[in-house]
Amino acid sequence: MDKNIRILIVDDFSTMRRIVKNLLNDLGFTNTAEADDGTTALVELKKARFDLVITDWNMPGMPGIDLLRAIRADPAMSTLPVLMVTAEAKRDQIIEAAQAGVNGYVIKPFTAATLKDKLDKIFERLGATA
């Protein structure tokens, strides 16, 4: 696994952005950038190439589900892996995210082990389809 992949962390809470960033650092991924909602995330995504987006769902500006749909609708980044890390835990929301094309779903509160497990699963699938 290339540890130098570029990862965009999207969450309106700075604490959660820092937590995800630190956990990624612990796993060896240090090439990260941050955005505080879907709108600012799209700006970052259009500025530079990213290999993975980790996004919250519930944000004051553009929510994560709309960010996911915008990514899937843009031919330039429609295959970009998206991991949702969110407190939204209703069955119909998980199905909605799946139908919108999410690659993984972590429910807050989560453990470092769960985040690692989901990232491994995403990279494993990407490796299999590459």
Binding site: F13, D26, G64, A87, A89, K90, A112
Partner: protein, 201 residues
């Protein structure tokens, strides 16, 4: 309110509305029907006004009449709690960072010590993840703040316009963490995994 007088006024408006209808007098018809609607809505408006006053008093300090700003103050206090917990959480993360730096300076003398260092490092990662409580409690508090602000603004509008609906926006932007006893039971990570697995993810 005098019930006899009420009945008399009501009957007069009904009769005048009927007469206006028979005479094709649209202005008089509308005026009398409006009076009837206003009469009908009056108990609702009075009830809402009383509720608004009681809500203000309940959220005030209870030592005097409502200031009219206690709802706003309540929101500010809740936002202060969010800021305090965020600061505490950031401080904890600073200390975790410092511990990680100190840990990197340790050169394990053998496999047993290396295992101990790895164990501490793994627990520091979990300590970092646990700080996510700040995000979860913050989301719940900010949702309450949004509710109080909606009630505050909505009550003002309703007093002027009785039929205006009062509701929180319920769109697809999410609802925040589920609260036990208030919200539907949330899915666990295992349930989410099974659900996603059944959907081929």
């Amino acid at each position: 309110m005098n019930e006899g007088l009420d009945r008399e006024v009501l009957a007069r408006h009904l009769m005048e509305a009927l007469a206006a209808l028979e005479n094709d007098d649209h202005a008089a018809w509308r005026r009398n029907v409006d009076e009837l609607i206003q009469w009908r809505a009056q108990p609702l408006v009075q009830g809402i006004t009383r509720l608004a006053r009681e809500l203000e008093q309940a959220l005030g300090d209870g030592t005097g009449p409502a200031s009219g700003t206690s709802l706003t103050e309540a929101c500010a206090r809740l936002e202060h709690v969010v800021a305090l917990t965020e600061n505490a959480s950031m401080r904890t993360l600073d200390l975790v960072d410092e511990c990680s730096t100190l840990l990197r300076a340790i050169e394990p003398a053998g496999p047993a010590q290396a295992e101990l260092v790895a164990g501490v490092r793994s627990r520091l990662s979990e300590l970092t993840a646990t700080q996510g409580y700040q995000d979860l409690t913050g989301q719940i508090i900010l949702r309450v703040v949004a509710l109080v602000r909606t009630v505050h603004a909505g009550l003002g509008e309703m007093i002027g316009e009785a039929e205006a609906p009062l509701r929180l926006s319920s769109d697809h932007r999410g609802h925040g963490p589920a609260v036990a006893g208030l919200d539907a039971e949330p899915a666990s990570q295992d349930e989410a995994n099974r659900l996603l697995s059944s959907l081929g993810i």
